[in-house]
Symmetry: C2
Subunit: 366 residues, 2 copies
Amino acid sequence: MKVNVLKENLAKALNTVGRIVSTKNSLPVLSHVLITTEDGRLKLASTNLEIGITYKIGGKVEENGSITVPARLFTELVNSLPGEKVEIKLNDLTLNIKAGNFKSEIKGITAEEFPLIPDIKESKVLSLDNKIFKDALKLVSFAAAVDDSRPVLSGVYIVKEGKKLTFAATDSYRLAEKNITLSKDLGIDFSVIVPIRTINEISKIISDIDGEINVYLSDNQISFEVDGVELVSRLIEGQYPNYRQIIPEGSETKANIKSSDFLNLLKVAVLFARENANTLTIKINPKGKLEVNVVANQVGSNESFLDADVTGKGGEISFNGRFIMDYIQNVNAKEISLEITGELTPGIMKTAEIKDYIYIIMPLRS
Amino acid sequence: MKVNVLKENLAKALNTVGRIVSTKNSLPVLSHVLITTEDGRLKLASTNLEIGITYKIGGKVEENGSITVPARLFTELVNSLPGEKVEIKLNDLTLNIKAGNFKSEIKGITAEEFPLIPDIKESKVLSLDNKIFKDALKLVSFAAAVDDSRPVLSGVYIVKEGKKLTFAATDSYRLAEKNITLSKDLGIDFSVIVPIRTINEISKIISDIDGEINVYLSDNQISFEVDGVELVSRLIEGQYPNYRQIIPEGSETKANIKSSDFLNLLKVAVLFARENANTLTIKINPKGKLEVNVVANQVGSNESFLDADVTGKGGEISFNGRFIMDYIQNVNAKEISLEITGELTPGIMKTAEIKDYIYIIMPLRS
């Protein structure tokens, strides 16, 4: 192998594929990145056995070949090299890297030892604008469970029926659902649960890329591809809960609130709510006031209020304050609404600024 | 106690005194901050039994009193409160805090339980410009030992003789010494070893304050005071090593190098030097070149070079690359010099941009 590439491109590719590489593996080759020439381009690949990422960059390929080298060392080296160009050349199992006044050698492991990353590009099931896809993921992914005690909840549920694409996530204490109407239907309906780690990785990978994202499916794998970068992941097996039954039909009281003011109130309230699993009491006064109260036996108490545009008879309910903060911080809307019906019915959060999007919070005993 | 203060002042004071408060104490009152009215001002104080900090702010004191409250909760509360003013009022052992549309109560512990922070303001030994003091500390403190295996090395040695003030630190592998000429001599000579944690704290505290710093000494305590903020610390007992004997008299070879280029070379070299305790070999070529080489049996090797202004016969020596990086990153000079004499004599680093300052690095076997 002998290839000349732009340092910037190589650094970007390595920083992306390196994200999932663990240095704590018992199998040394899993802390390596696979480097291969393919169709006149240089392909970098990494895997943690759950997720695999491949990234292709252009370059001047003078000799074909492949090798694996330690991902962290190679990435840090390329990030630190000066100048615009890097020459990489394979000599037996040693990779020679030349750039400016630097000459480095990195000892590798043969490419044959690298685990196969499955290629599942046959059945394309989605093709849509990157930004729409990314925004939808951001609106639901924060509601997924962070632990694996119920595996199906530690992922995002994605369902396609005709031109309707639904994203949902819940940790059983709160739920977020976003619907999208596709501009083109590729003809294959599906429902899958994608691990939250995969969702987070693909969100970061596509965060600064424009264009279309293509999604491919096989029996137990999903693949996302955008502009030369591909991420393949296992799917979570199992039945996603029938979450629609917990979404209330309507509500007795609705308060429209300025997001930033509400967030400031909650930030202070949760300081006092730590000892009670973030439990705070919200009182909606029909005269146009929303109050947030916390009584913490050990540390003290906190009371605060803000003006709200209230419709309905008013009421009082207890929630996990962090869950409301999560919503406000992820939707990024100027104004949001909170709807409640008595102390035992889940609360509904919406914003007029994002359509086909709903967030449900289970009430707590105060 | 009833006091009205500006939120900004209270937040600044709490953020400063809160720095040393641990939340992991077996003694609850040590995770608290002491709040006292004193001479028409509000005094905040904290201690970790090694270091004590007091911070006085102005305010409208309507009723005197004192209490201790959890430092973290009170600090986060004040940082999060809106508006300009805060009213604090003591009701038995509960502190009431009012600001804008917030009313909070924090349960406290009586001030009598708070450890006494010694007042050692009798013997003032130094009074000098804050910035000069801070800059001198920065030039030496990075060379102090980070562990306590030899307690005297885990501090900065400060010696005053007449108008000469010397700062020194060494971990026995490298040494930094900076000398200052005082504009006024308060008449008391001394030599003390100040714990590195104290040095780091006082450096941060004074980093954004202008004016004079006053230093006071007692038998085993030192106190730094600047603009209403005071830090009291224990001193390290013991004899500081006679470090002057390891400073070479002169050198055979000297290379003047552009700092930023040298730093870039070293950043790459240490990537390969990790497995060898950062050992790299530096070759100074009398024809005007400095080479940095690393051979790492496990990962590979790296060679690099840069242009240098060389005087003398040239030579080769091995150093811990991190120690050279520490120097370059802390002196912040455009050009630095490296002087060597054979493989076994310590290297000398200097810069024409900072006078009365020397840095010594012990050689390693390559």
